[in-house]
């Protein structure tokens, strides 16, 4: 049984006090796994990721990473806690060059130049354009840069919010495959996706959220053929599965 | 005793005139969310406009058309409205701070032009040669001032009633809708720029009316009356009273004008001579502190806006 890296217990969170979007969410993420969160619009998937990243305040509950309490960290301290977060859209700085984007996230790192070189070896399309403004990249390459920026700080856990949104089917598949490949190198990934079928084929474990609560969870391979998934996505009102 | 009463008449007259201006400002800021950084330009346009139209014929500058007084006053208000139209057309569709900067610039420029264009405004020495309406028929100065006070207060009441009706009308609801959520208002097929422009012009006409009355009362206006500092005073009156609330705006005007007059009187009477030179300086520090303090601790003012809920939505219960 693999070790649990991230554990979130009874999370209540939201932008406005007394109006929680997450009413009670529990998840566990195994080390070096690809864990997927799906659910209908407004289920609180993105909010949950943002609560872990410290972007949305957590009202109650606890989040721990390798047994260390990380509830309510400041978003700018994520890297110190070995977490990286790839937001859904606008996840690169268009006005900066590709190299500057990477230098920016690594500005406190001791071996910045080495890490940047490593990222360019890993992502050759970026290396060729390192002096160009990031705003000139194609959609797929932007996601690649965003992932590179997350990976550059050498995190244990990467939080990804719909990385395939707005991409062509081919580019979407590439980005999801990239996430899968990272886990085989020991990185843990928590992924929110709308591209359910595609993501589920690659994921290890899958959580379904609805209306700010856990609905169901199981191995992704099992859920892939489960009628429940379709039911929730068609808007069926299923209150409690367990 | 008579001195006190006559001072009281003077005080209420000026405060009521300023209250009309603050009501005009409230339409712009409180109800529409426009930051007019140059209120004084529209006040000045009304003042100069009224005196130029209604004054006696002059040899050294244009104007002195000797118009029937109500027409002159109306002309002053229209002058302020035209100025607002020009500024609004140029800046209302841009980021809100362009509007703040542009209106501020209008005020600086207005004062500058009035100070320099002697052929138009009499220059730094100001505009004289205005006979107050009906002054020839009332030979007692005090009686005249009381009558003038009655005219001013009734105009204040009229302005108040007009604005209360306006903000309760569908148009008023539209203004608040745009202030709160421009995109939503847009999606309902409303043109926010156009509606904001009309609110800005209407508010400026009201400010111009106040300027016209002010100039009439003194039968004189000079660049000293249209310094940018007047803008600060009017703003302080509105923020103290409570943006969005017309009654609050009137009350705030009387309160701040009272505090201003009292502090000026107190300093001139009790402070040593070398300190008296700095009376204005200290008063403006106080005004600045009032503005910043209110924004920090009581941004809704002493009398917050009462939300006007649309009645038609509730009846269906």
């Amino acid at each position: 049984m693999a070790e649990i890296l991230l554990r979130a217990t009874d999370i209540v969170a939201g932008y406005v006090k007394d109006l929680p979007i997450l009413k009670k969410v529990n998840i566990e993420v195994k080390k070096a796994s690809l864990t997927l969160i799906i659910g209908p619009n407004g289920a609180g998937k993105s909010t949950f990721i943002k609560a872990i990243a410290g972007v949305v305040p957590v009202t109650s509950g606890q989040i721990s990473l390798s047994g260390q309490n990380i509830t309510g960290i400041r978003p700018d301290q994520m890297a110190q806690h070995s977490i990286a977060y790839v937001p859904q859209s606008d996840n690169i700085f268009r006005a900066l060059t590709i190299r500057q984007n990477l230098e920016l996230v690594l500005r406190k790192s001791k071996n910045g130049p080495a890490r940047i070189a490593e990222m360019f070896t890993r992502f050759p399309p970026l290396a060729g354009k390192q002096a160009e403004k990031a705003g000139t990249l194609s959609g797929g390459q932007r996601q690649m840069l965003a992932v590179a920026m997350a990976l550059a700080v050498d995190p244990l856990l990467i939080l990804m919010d719909e990385p395939s949104a707005g991409l062509s089917p081919k580019a979407a598949q590439e980005v999801l495959q990239l996430a899968r490949d990272l886990t085989s190198q020991g990185v843990t990934i928590l992924l929110v996706e709308q591209n359910v079928k595609q993501a589920m084929r690659l994921a290890d474990h899958c959580y379904i959220l609805a209306e700010g609560r856990n609905q169901h969870d199981a191995d992704a391979s099992i859920l892939l053929d489960d009628p429940i998934v379709g039911e929730i996505y068609l808007g069926g009102k299923r209150t409690n599965v367990s | 005793m008579m001195g006190l009463i006559s001072y009281l008449v003077f005080f209420i007259t000026i405060a009521s005139i300023l209250a009309i201006a603050v009501l005009g400002l409230n339409l712009q800021w409180g109800n529409t969310g426009l930051f007019n950084g140059g209120v004084v330009a529209f006040f000045g346009a009304g003042a100069y406009g009224t005196l130029l139209l209604g004054g006696d014929p002059q040899s050294d500058h244009i104007g002195g058309f000797d118009l029937f007084y109500p027409l002159a006053l109306l002309g002053g208000a229209v002058a302020a409205g035209v100025l607002a139209w020009v500024v609004g057309r140029l800046t209302l569709h841009l980021r809100h701070d362009y509007f703040a900067i542009a209106t501020f610039g209008v005020a600086v420029t207005f004062e500058n032009v009035m100070r320099n264009a002697e052929g138009l405004s009499g220059g730094a020495k100001g505009l004289r040669g205005f006979t107050r309406p009906l002054e020839a028929f009332v030979n007692n100065g005090f009686t005249y001032n009381v009558l003038f006070l009655l005219v001013v207060t009734s105009l204040l009441v009229c302005t108040y009633l007009f604005l209360e009706r306006l903000i309760r009308s569908p148009y008023g609801r539209l203004l608040r809708a745009i202030r709160e959520d421009e995109i939503a208002a847009c999606s309902l097929g409303k043109k926010p720029d156009r509606i904001r422009l009309t609110a800005f012009i209407t508010g400026s006409c009201i400010v111009g009316l106040a300027g016209g009355l002010y100039a009439t009362f003194y039968a004189f206006v000079s660049p000293q009356d249209v310094l940018p500092t007047l803008t600060f005073q009017l703003w302080a009156m509105l923020i103290v009273g409570g943006a969005g609330n017309n009654r609050g705006a009137i009350f705030g005007t009387f309160l701040i004008w009272g505090a201003w007059s009292a502090s000026g009187w107190g300093l001139s009477r009790f402070a040593p001579v070398e300190v008296q030179l700095y009376t204005g300086t200290m008063q403006f520090i106080l005004i600045g502190l009032v503005i910043v303090g209110m924004l920090l601790w009581r941004p809704q003012g002493l009398f917050p806006e009462r939300l006007v809920v649309s009645q038609s939505g509730c009846k269906s219960k």
Partner: protein, 304 residues
């Protein structure tokens, strides 16, 4: 004509220094700061105090540097004034603007900056008196560069121009070559992404105020060196500095530099055709002309 151009370039350098800080604040915090020009006054007056202090302690410092009316004491004072002004700017933000920002209303910030300007201007008047003062009472004569066309230039003007350009060059290297510069641009483009990328927003904002304050202080001292120091420097310069930022495009540091020179030169050239009494109105006419032709400035991008 040539004379107006030379004078305009000098005024332009001072306006540029003021506009750089203003454009950064307007871009990152998204409000028109009417109190920015008062930072020039704070700078000019604190240099006056330090100058008296240093000249008193070490009279040798009061000797002039070469042909300039600038002394070693004043040079040193300028750096101290930059520190004081930068710190004041940061503290004003901490105690006023930050707290209003947290309530989330941009227009209230504009409004508050009106009040702050009023307070600073009049407190300076109360402390230092309403009369104009000078750093040096010695008269420095202008040097005739050419007699036809007539061109007179004071040594101080050359010094101010060179010093201003040097400061801008330093800033250029900071912005384009250091990760702090990238962080600044990142916050301006996308504050929430900057935060999750490891940038502490509050620290960057504080630094922006400090930089803006430092540049404004230098501008204030340079202004005082060429004109005189009085409590209404801010009132007189607020509109030209706004004009420079709008001409350059809000958010563009290089635009602000260019905007400063354009406004400085245009204002001086305009006086060739307009009576000199109208000079306070010229910046506004420049703003209007620009808004008609190019509403987002020369280098600005449309913003909502």
């Amino acid at each position: 004509m040539i004379q107006s151009l030379a004078d305009g370039i000098l005024v332009g350098a001072i306006l540029s220094l003021g506009a750089i800080g203003l454009t950064m604040v307007m871009h990152i915090l998204r409000f028109a700061n009417f109190s920015h020009a008062e930072l020039l006054s704070i700078g000019a007056y604190s240099a006056l105090v330090f100058d008296a202090l240093f000249s008193g302690i070490l009279p040798i410092l009061a000797n002039k540097i070469g042909p300039f009316s600038m002394t070693w004491a004043l040079t040193l004072s300028m750096f101290c004034a930059m520190g004081v002004t930068g710190l004041s700017a940061m503290l004003i933000d901490r105690f006023v603007f930050k707290r209003i920002r947290e309530k989330g209303d941009e227009l209230s910030m504009v409004f508050a900056s009106f009040g702050v300007a009023m307070i600073i201007r009049n407190v300076l008047g109360l402390i230092f008196g309403l009369k104009s003062q000078l750093y040096s009472n010695d008269i420095v004569f202008a040097v005739m560069i050419s007699s036809d066309p007539m061109l007179l230039i004071k040594p101080d003007q050359v010094f101010v121009l060179l010093a201003a350009l040097l400061i801008m060059l330093v800033l250029h290297f900071v912005l384009s070559r250091t990760t702090f510069g990238y962080a600044l641009r990142a916050v301006a483009e996308n504050p929430s992404l900057a935060e999750v990328s490891g940038i502490r927003l509050s620290r960057v904002i504080a630094l922006v105020w400090i930089i803006g304050g430092c540049l404004a202080a230098a501008a204030g001292v340079f202004y005082g060196l060429n004109n005189h120091i009085n409590p209404v420097i801010g009132r007189d310069l607020v509109l030209p500095i706004f004009a420079a930022t709008i001409v350059g495009g809000i958010g563009s540091v290089y635009g602000a530099v260019l905007g400063g020179f354009i406004v400085g030169i245009a204002a001086n050239m305009a006086l060739l055709v307009l009576p000199s009494g109208y000079s306070p109105a010229v910046p506004f006419m420049i703003i209007l002309a620009l808004l008609l032709v190019r509403p987002h400035g020369l280098f600005g991008e449309p913003q909502t």
